[in-house]
Symmetry: C2
Subunit: 209 residues, 2 copies
Amino acid sequence: MSTTPARSRTRKAPAERAAEIVAAATAIAREGGLSALTLRAVAERVGVASGLVAHYQPSMDDLVARVYADLVEEEVRDVEAVLADVADPAARLGALIDTLMDGEREELTVVWVEGWAMARRSEPLAGAVRAQMERWQTLVERIVADGCRSGAFATTEPGEVAWELIGMIDGLNAQSLALGTDTSRFALRTARAAEALVGARPGSIPVRS
Amino acid sequence: MSTTPARSRTRKAPAERAAEIVAAATAIAREGGLSALTLRAVAERVGVASGLVAHYQPSMDDLVARVYADLVEEEVRDVEAVLADVADPAARLGALIDTLMDGEREELTVVWVEGWAMARRSEPLAGAVRAQMERWQTLVERIVADGCRSGAFATTEPGEVAWELIGMIDGLNAQSLALGTDTSRFALRTARAAEALVGARPGSIPVRS
DNA sequence: GGAGTAATTGATCTAGCGATCAATAGGCAA
DNA sequence: TTGCCTATTGATCGCTAGATCAATTACTCC
């Protein structure tokens, strides 16, 4: 009665199965946040017994951290791809703001906010969160430092300014998530604030809207 | 064997007991975040059977929302008390930044971030989060509007600017929580960004450090 | 001082989580 | 075709969560 009727057992190469499991986990997290990422949810999505997921993963904490890192990593790469086409530092910073605040990153914002909250209870996740934040910081610092070299920006602490910019943008995204509003309405104002932070001429950082 | 040895049953007036339970719940949330706020944790802290907590609370979701609202409400009042002594709008905004970013609000930041994350799974909490954000927004908007009247600030949208300021500050606090660093190092820079947002003369918003 | 009210207990139910492991069976090598 | 290796199963354990409710008992009022 309680046994699941049938299951056509398919045997795969360990590497393939492991990849399948991580892929399913990533999809679940993207759709429902990190809190939806459970052993059984992954198993069901792959179409496999729950024990198999556990077999391929040392612990769920590790899988969650891994998925978090993968998702943010992918986001960083997306943004880097967008910025690659933009040469001017001011325009690059504007494109960064536009991209991160275009109102179509709600799914990632959920992951981001849940990461902050859950990191307090999971050491692996805490590490992943810190690492991925530094990833972002490095990316932004480079833009700011470039601007300083070209004379468009003027600050003696590009690293600190980068942290501040990231914190601002994340906070506004999180707020929009909680309120159910669109972040993009903050993009223009954020550009003005960014100019003050990097020491750019007012109006020199262009954003779409 | 499994029964707890003894318990001196003390009977109290419903109102008193209810208050006791809410107080204990608030203390737990302050110390360990909203995720530490469980039926049994509250019962243990009050020194009472778990069933009694359930008896006084329609559901834990409601209690969590209530506690969240109480905690933020108290924070808002604290800040209002600090700002009451400051007449000048620019100085008021500076005092707001100083107070919210003095690095001693970690406990509240945990509640705040967990609130964002948990609100997705709890309708009562989602309502409380929205309500308390509006509380903050009203407070900040008033400062900005005052500044516009006095000529210290110049913006046509004090309400939107208020949202932006709150989002920024919350984001920086959350980031500092995740990184384990001190928010206060962002206060000065945040004041510069705030000047750009409210349309104040650079350097006109004073902060402590 | 006795009775009745209702505050309080604590065992119990359901549900979900991660983790474990003996048993099973798929697919490749010989 | 046969046999072995191991990928896979699924039942099960231990834990924690919120919720429920019949039984108990502390207090108040007459």
